[in-house]
Structures are given as C-alpha cells and as structure tokens.
Symmetry: C2
Amino acid sequence: MSRHTPDKTASAAYSARPTLKIDLGALKRNYMRLQDNVGRHVKVAASIKANAYGLGAERVGKTLYGAGCRNFFVATAGEGKILRNTIGDTASIYVLNGPAPRDISLYNGAELKPVINSFEQAQVWLSTTGEARRRPACALHIDTGMNRLGLTDEDIDRLSRNKKMLEQLVPMLIMSHLACAPDKTSSMNAAQLARFKKAAARFPVMPMSLANSPGIALGKPYHFQMVRAGLGLFAKDITNNADDNITENTVSLMAPVLQTRVVKKGESLGYNAAYIAPHPMTIAIVGAGYADGIPVTASSSHNALGGFARMQGKHVPIIGRVSMDLTMLNITDLRRPPQLGDWAEFAGRDLLSFAKASGTIPYEILTRLGSRSRRDYFSSDGPPRKPNKIGRS
Amino acid sequence: MSRHTPDKTASAAYSARPTLKIDLGALKRNYMRLQDNVGRHVKVAASIKANAYGLGAERVGKTLYGAGCRNFFVATAGEGKILRNTIGDTASIYVLNGPAPRDISLYNGAELKPVINSFEQAQVWLSTTGEARRRPACALHIDTGMNRLGLTDEDIDRLSRNKKMLEQLVPMLIMSHLACAPDKTSSMNAAQLARFKKAAARFPVMPMSLANSPGIALGKPYHFQMVRAGLGLFAKDITNNADDNITENTVSLMAPVLQTRVVKKGESLGYNAAYIAPHPMTIAIVGAGYADGIPVTASSSHNALGGFARMQGKHVPIIGRVSMDLTMLNITDLRRPPQLGDWAEFAGRDLLSFAKASGTIPYEILTRLGSRSRRDYFSSDGPPRKPNKIGRS
C-alpha cells in the first residue's frame, strides 16, 4: 500500500475484523499513467473481472469511469450487470468468457457486448432472439498461441468466409491475449503479434487490441487502438523489468492484533505443531487468516520460511501454519510492544514479495483479499504527475 | 461430492458462470453421525466461521439448527449477527476471536457470547456498559499448547484468583483447541488434554469443550460436555486414519466447458507458456479459475503435475497455469467429446486429493470456493443411517 496508509495503531475502538484499505487515488493515478503512456490515440480499457480483482467492482468501476475510462472488460455476464448498474449507459462493457444460452437475458438487460471466442459461441449468440440482440455488437477473440479461449485457425477460416454471419455479428473490436508479456525477451510476444496481424487481416477493418498491462511496456507496435489494463490498475511490479513499472500498489489487508504472547524455546506453535521455537520469542496473533486471503502456502515451519506482514515499518514473519481466521507473527524484533488493535499490514507495498513468498502470483493474492473484511476506501494524494516514456519504442 | 451430483451434461441452457453444488442432506447426515458418535450426553456444536467454510452461513445455519444443533461458533461478531438473524433466538452463538471495543454493539444486538482469550479481552468485555452485556455470558478459552489465541498460564492465574471478575463475566463454557488432533499418534493430544483438565480445575465448575472434528475420533476422554465440529460437517477424511471417517463431502465446484480445442505436439499452453504439449492433446477450457477457488498452486507444467477435475467419472488433469477466470483440462482420454456447458467437477468427492495436489488443506479449498458462483443447494437422500462406534473408547 502507498506510504499514506497508517502503519501505526488502529483506532482505540478497534474491531476484531480485518480491514481492506483501498487507495482509489492510486487507482486513478495508475489509470492516468497508463493512458499517458500509450498516448491519446490509444484507449486504455479496464479489465476488472472478479469483483475488480477483489477491490470491489462498484467503487473501482466508478473511479475509473471518473478517470475517463469508457471501455470495460469483465469475465461473466453477472459481473457485467453489476458494473452497468454502477457506471451508467455510456460505456462499453465486454464479457470475456463469451455468450452462453442461460446468460443472454443479462446481455440484453445490461447492454453487454460478448467476446466471441469460438465459432460455436458465434452460433450461440446468433441463435438468440432479435430482442436479446437489439443492439448487436461483439468482439472477436483470436487465439494467437495461448491455446486458452479464442478463435482457432479453423474458426477464423469458417467465420471470415461467412459474410452473412459477420454482418449479423457486427464485430466492433478484434482482440487477442499475450501469454508471456511480462518477459520482454520472450519470443512468444513477437510471434503472437505476427499471428494477430495476420488473422485480423482476414476480417473487415475494425479496432484492434492485444496488450494487457505488461504488454503496454512492449511498446507501440503492441498498442493498436486499445490496450486492456488489469493488474496495472491495482499494482506495481507488473513486468519483470523494474524500469517499466510506472504504477502503484493500491490495497492492503490490515489485521488487528488480538493477543501477544511470549513463547519459550522449544515450544510448538499452531496446527500440526509445525513450528518449534528455536529461541524465546514474542508473537502477535492477528485477526485474519486464509479465509481473509492470507494463503496457507504463506505458512512457515521451523525449517522453511513463509510469508510476512509489516508492523512499525518492519517485516514480521508468519510463524507456523496460517489458520482460517488467525495468523501468528514473530514480533520479537519490534521496537515497541504492539497494543491490542494495532494493525499488521499484508500485501500493500509488499504485494509482489508476499506473493512470491506464498508461492503464487500477485493476481491471486488480490482476488482472495477481503471476502470478510470491512472495506475502507480512501484517496491518497500521491506524487505530482510527471510525463514518462516507458513502453514507448 | 456425493454420488448424487450429476457428473454428466449441464442443462442445454448452460451459463458461463460456475455453480457451487451444496448437499444440505449430506450436511445434515454429517451432523447426525457426529452426534450419534459422541452420544446424547455430549452436545455437538457447529463451528461455522468464514461463511460456513464458504458454503453459506444462512443455509448451513438453518440446516444444522433443523438437525438439532443449538450451539454455534463463529470467528467474528459480524458473522454472529448474520447467523443470529437466520436461526432465531434460542441457540447460543459464541465468537471465537473475542471481544473488541468496536464490535460490542453487535454482541448486544445479536446476543452473542464472546470467547475470552486473554486477561485483556476479559477487561475489554467488562469495561463495556451494562446495556451491552445485559445478558452476560462468555466462554473461557485456555491455551493448552497451540500458542495461538487463549489464556496463558499467567492469565489463568490472574483470572482464577479474581472472584469478582469471574462473577461479572459469567463464564458458561471452558474450552481449548487441539493442535494435532488428526494424528492419533501425536503426543500433543494427551499433553493438551492434561493441561486442559488442570487449568479447568482452577475455575468454577462449568461445561467443558476440547475436541474439534478430528478430536472426536480421539475418543470419549476428549469429548467432555461439548465437541465443536467444523470440517467434519462438510467433508470426509478429517483424520489421518481412514477407519475413523464417518462423514461425507458436501460441496462441488462445477465449471462449464466453454470451448474445446486440439493442441499439436510442441505447442505451448496458457500463461508463461508453462506447459508444452508432449504429444497431440484435446483440451477443454472451463469457466472457473483462481477467482473461483481453484488455486494457482493447482497449475501444472510439462514437468510438474498439478490438480485435476472430474468429467464423465474420470480425472482430467489441469494443464498449464490456472487463470483468474478459466482453467484448461486435458480431456484427451475421455470416452466422448464434451459439449459446451458440460460440467467439470472440482473438489467434491476428491476434496482431499485435490487439496493435496494443490499443496494445501481441504479447509482452505472450501473457504475459497464460490465467491463468484451461483449456489445450488440440494438435498441428497444418502445411505440408510446405521449405528457406528468410531471414536468411542
């Protein structure tokens, strides 16, 4: 989290429940930076699926809309409906997982645009009644080597030759998705770019979109008319190249200290007695566990390091196995003993290293945070904006 | 999931959104089996924190109440309030993480009983106004070697000598928690039992509770007047000893097939091109990912196995990295090609092996499921009840 998050005591009137602190100011700055970066002839769309990476679709959607965003991507039609209710009628909302028969009324009611990922999905979409598609429009998603969702070579062949079908579909965007964008040196990037251009040439001229957040840093040839920012809206460190990172972290999980205790050398801690204290230590038990998004894989044992939180500006290691509602932290090295209700901060500015220490990726950490937390939205001022050239080539 | 879950095609009117199938019949049977097991002089309380392990506090609470449960444990006061609104006034609801100043009005409004985990928490609770504790009652939680929450030896000393404080607290239950209960051979169990008895003897006589679900299988000496079932309500395989397992799995994550594709030998799949096809294969892309509770740690690469789903009764391995909204499955060995909308089932009867393949524990898998899923509650008939003797000693 930004340096504006209080790292000291919580209010005296602390709760035993964790709080998710979400910096909407940083979110807005991230959007503006990415938009500055690609230049005004390229639109930055927001990919805010999974409840906006766990931060809350409504507040995030509204903030990005306020920052000028008019193109949004979600995973499911249900997510699209929630977003539409929040941001009003003037933005485009695309549904990445594509149309399914049972979801069609949602598309109609919320004026969602499906992403067509296969010839079959095109058929599903066209087989719905006229009412359901009273304002037809869609995006075509080409698979360029990820082998996940997307039109296959055969699909492209069938669809591009079927003028009548294309006329009915009214595609307004052609897109693909990069598999290895955080790694500038990967040959996949150029290979996908080439395949994307070749496939797009088979269809009528329309706006194109290839880059996700890390793809923006691959430079101008990857930007086309639209880039789709996801992680970059919410986090720093989105590519493997530190110089390319222009965004900030936006979210911290704050867990209150519920108890502190002194543990003697040789005593065991937590489930399975997984940790044996190698020397006397002071620990804090904080009110957040894996049900709040601290992964079990962030656990430690006496012979394996795990994840950590931050208290009083210092890293405090997770001790023993993370429990459902509780986590134990080694606070032996803190300058002053914490009070009940003091915060331990998870993720925040340490998002990437916390994810690595937990054997996962920042994306997953974000989507897991906060299912049980109070959400505290605030807006930090941030540093003065300055132009940057990162990602331009 | 029980054998009653359809493992074949979804309805032709499939959705692109996953469904969580929750067997309330199995839940009820699990409760009855545990109650049969401990005998009618021991109460089986339900520990249904974290939204009832992800299954939904309301439906789970109501079902357990209907099965005769009158004692519930939750982690936070907010969870207690939701449960109280669901099950009415006649059951006891204990809040495990204990009282905090900001949560007191919830305790009062929903008549929640705090679990007092430290001398400081006793002070917090007693410092609230009379109105907030107009029906005082609490549980005392003794730490007997887990070194997580719970009264320390020093706390026990201070509190047990303070007659006035005890009188004001009105403790109605004394409890502790086992660290190693799934492992019958662990010496921790007997050590904790002895410490618990010794500590309880320092306080006025009141009902005692030590065992969690796996603790039930440790036998009569661990049951006292109340056991607290958690995982055992929702899952099979709660102890390391297969013979002790008397409960059923209750939940499956059903993900719809959104697309199938044939991948050529040598092609890469998914993010980071983490999987290179060693031979031609057919894959299915299904509509659920880590935002739906399939862990990133369930991913596979061409040189490391990952998790799996079940289709047509067979295991189908996860291929490549699990995405936020999508997972790829190797369906090459299926007897018939799946249709769009066919279900892939995650967890269910495979909960334990799926958790192991994902490097975690069943508890965490459960609490992560279903944040974005439709919840489909049903009630299977199950096998005829028969008496069992497991865990009696």
